[in-house]
């Protein structure tokens, strides 16, 4: 398979994946570009993988997670508003990724891999080198926490970036009161 052909087929999905993980379109594009650049660099071996896209997605996930950690404190609302101005991103989607950003890293990654990349639990467990039971637990807790964050209208909005990322559902619920809906 030709790299350009592969890129054109997979780029959208990887950018969406990065966007869901980082909450920023600019970061998502950067993460996707870096992941595909690494795939290009090792294309002879990557194209022999069962799924080159899975390889790129794994690299993008690692980059997004480390980038998110690095930028968490310095994240600016302005950049996220730019993302919200892109016509393809509806306010609902912005709310979704904002809510995702309030989740612990593991829950966020597992939710995105499961719902967006459509990976089964066993595959996620293998990718993350974690027990399947833990993946299921993160999935269940992440689903609950996401529903809570989404229902607390405004709490997960881009206006509160990088803050309030407690690991416990109880803390999240308590934090919701200050938003006022």
């Amino acid at each position: 398979m030709d790299f350009i052909e592969f890129y054109q087929a997979a780029a959208q999905r990887v950018v969406r994946h990065g966007y869901a993980l980082t909450g920023s379109l600019a970061e998502a594009q950067d993460v996707a570009q870096e992941a595909f650049a690494r795939a290009w660099q090792h294309w002879d071996s990557v194209r022999g993988c069962d799924s080159p896209e899975a390889w790129v997605r794994r690299v993008a996930t690692n980059l997004a997670v480390s980038q998110f950690r690095r930028d968490r404190a310095a994240r600016s609302a302005v950049r996220d508003l730019v993302a919200a101005d892109v016509p393809a991103i509806s306010p609902d989607m912005v709310a979704l990724v904002a809510a995702l950003r309030t989740l612990p890293e593991r829950q966020r990654v597992v939710l995105v891999l499961h719902y967006l990349a459509d990976l089964p639990v066993g595959q996620i467990a293998a990718d993350l080198r974690a027990p399947a039971g833990s993946v299921k637990a993160w999935l269940a807790r992440g689903r609950d926490a996401l529903a809570v964050a989404m229902s607390e209208d405004g709490c997960g909005s881009p206006g509160r970036p990088g803050t309030g990322r407690p690991g416990r559902a109880g803390s999240r619920a308590a934090g919701g009161g200050a938003c006022g809906g």
């Binding site: 998502a28 892109v86 991103i89 066993g122 399947a132 299921k136 996401l146």
Partner: protein, 435 residues
């Protein structure tokens, strides 16, 4: 916001037309990376040459050391060869299996439960329930989904993993996410619950770290696991009846398993090759064993013949008699019917697939495991007939019978779709082509 709404939003995101970087810029960035890598490689060559020259002229060289010993399991060609005698065989279509796959358990109608284990009798399900007024571990009837007992309440964010114990009990650990939600899930202690509502903490003196491996339970009312004391890993053995536990080994150890009268665990030689959870193909290691038919454990003994060729395998399952282990690359399966018999290669996963760490266990005359591609495999250890069930997972719940989870349906339903395959249905599987 309902689960359906979350799913709709994910679906909307999955079809959003987001701007992507130009292909040319990606290739340019790739070229830049390649140039940088070549530059670093050239520097490395110069550095190596300098070290060699330093060695020749007698100057002290920095960073010289013995090369890492190769693993005992060298990579070998996959497939290609015809199935050898004694290998597992595809099972003939089986009515009991297809019936079970078409019938969901009563527990499937419940919301907010995560299965933990199946009781040794196969009649009860242990699960963590997050719905309703009780968040915690419960025992419920497989047939009716009625809660029989509340085992332990959990704090928000906590969950449990466990294995069935003797007398219909459950040996389990409670885990929580560390680092304010950023760190890994850590299990802080082990407990044993018996149906007479007795809950026993299994705590060795001085324990400060978390449980790192699934619990192993022997028929002799003993449990063992790998834990951290904060600095080093430890192997712990506990008496389920009294709760008394002992640290029996410290070092770079891996998940233990009872094989016959022995407790066996992998050992890595140093921190650099210490184990990740059940999987570290690069870690050169060996197995260690102690006599563990009774509590407290006895001294070191030779590794049972069933595991002598296991090398650096870390995914090992045993029911005390039969033993199976995966090769370090998690691709091949070795099986021994008795501790005194060396294991032999019986199965190879299709290329690109791998065993899921921690998800392999024996039932009565059958072995079950799960792979990274969410396929459940069930094999009769009498006939070696194996059935692969794509799209089904959750083989952590296993004992006399096995529960599998259908992951192929709509993911947004909060209920988990469970099916029960009885031990006899698996044990009586036959090869599609005898011989």
């Amino acid at each position: 916001v309902a689960d359906n709404d979350v799913g709709r939003l994910f679906a909307a995101l999955a079809s959003a037309d987001l701007p992507v970087p130009a292909a040319g810029s990606v290739v340019a960035r790739g070229r830049q990376r390649r140039r940088r890598a070549r530059g670093l490689a050239a520097l490395a060559v110069v550095a190596v040459a300098a070290v060699i020259v330093a060695g020749i002229v007698g100057l002290p060289a920095i960073g010289r050391g013995s090369p890492t010993a190769p693993g005992r399991h060298a990579s070998k060609p996959r497939h290609g060869s015809a199935r050898a005698a004694g290998m597992m065989c595809p099972a003939a279509p089986d009515k009991a299996v297809s019936t079970a796959l078409g019938r969901e358990l009563a527990a499937s109608t419940q919301h907010g439960i995560v299965p933990v284990a199946l009781s040794a009798s196969g009649r009860e399900l242990f699960a963590v329930t997050t719905a309703g007024s009780f968040h915690g571990i419960v025992e419920e009837s497989i047939r009716t989904a009625v809660v029989i007992a509340r085992i332990e309440a959990l704090a928000p964010g906590e969950t449990a993993q466990g294995v069935p114990g003797p007398g219909g009990g459950l040996a389990f650990t409670v885990s929580h996410v560390t680092g304010g939600g950023q760190g890994p899930a850590v299990s802080t202690g082990a407990e044993f619950w018996a149906p007479d509502a007795k809950l026993t903490a299994l705590e060795p003196p001085g324990q400060v770290g978390g449980v790192l491996s699934p619990l192993a339970v022997s028929g002799g009312r003993l449990a063992a696991w790998e834990q951290s004391d904060g600095k080093m890993q430890e192997i712990v053995e506990a008496n389920l009846a009294t709760g008394v536990a002992d640290v029996i080994s410290r070092g770079y150890v891996g998940p233990p398993v009872f094989v016959g009268g022995a407790l066996v665990w992998p050992v890595a030689p140093n921190a650099a090759s210490a184990f990740t959870y059940g999987r570290n193909p690069q870690a050169p290691s060996h197995l260690a064993a102690v006599h563990a038919a009774t509590f407290p454990a006895g001294g070191p003994i030779a590794v049972p013949p069933a595991l002598r060729a296991a090398g650096s395998a870390t995914l090992i399952a045993s029911d005390g008699l039969q033993t199976a282990y995966a090769s370090p690359d998690l691709a091949d399966l070795y099986y021994s019917p008795a501790p005194s018999q060396p294991a032999r290669l019986v199965f190879r996963l299709p290329a690109g697939n791998a065993f899921t760490p921690g998800a392999m266990a024996f039932g009565t005359s059958y072995l079950a495991w799960q792979t990274a591609s969410a396929t459940s495999y069930l094999v009769s250890t009498r006939s070696l007939a194996v059935v692969a069930i794509p799209g089904f997972s959750s083989l952590a719940v296993i004992a006399a019978d096995v529960i599998i989870e259908n992951t192929t349906g709509p993911k947004l339903s909060p209920a988990i779709r469970l099916h029960l395959l009885t031990g006899p249905a698996i044990t009586t599987l036959r090869c599609a082509t005898p011989g």
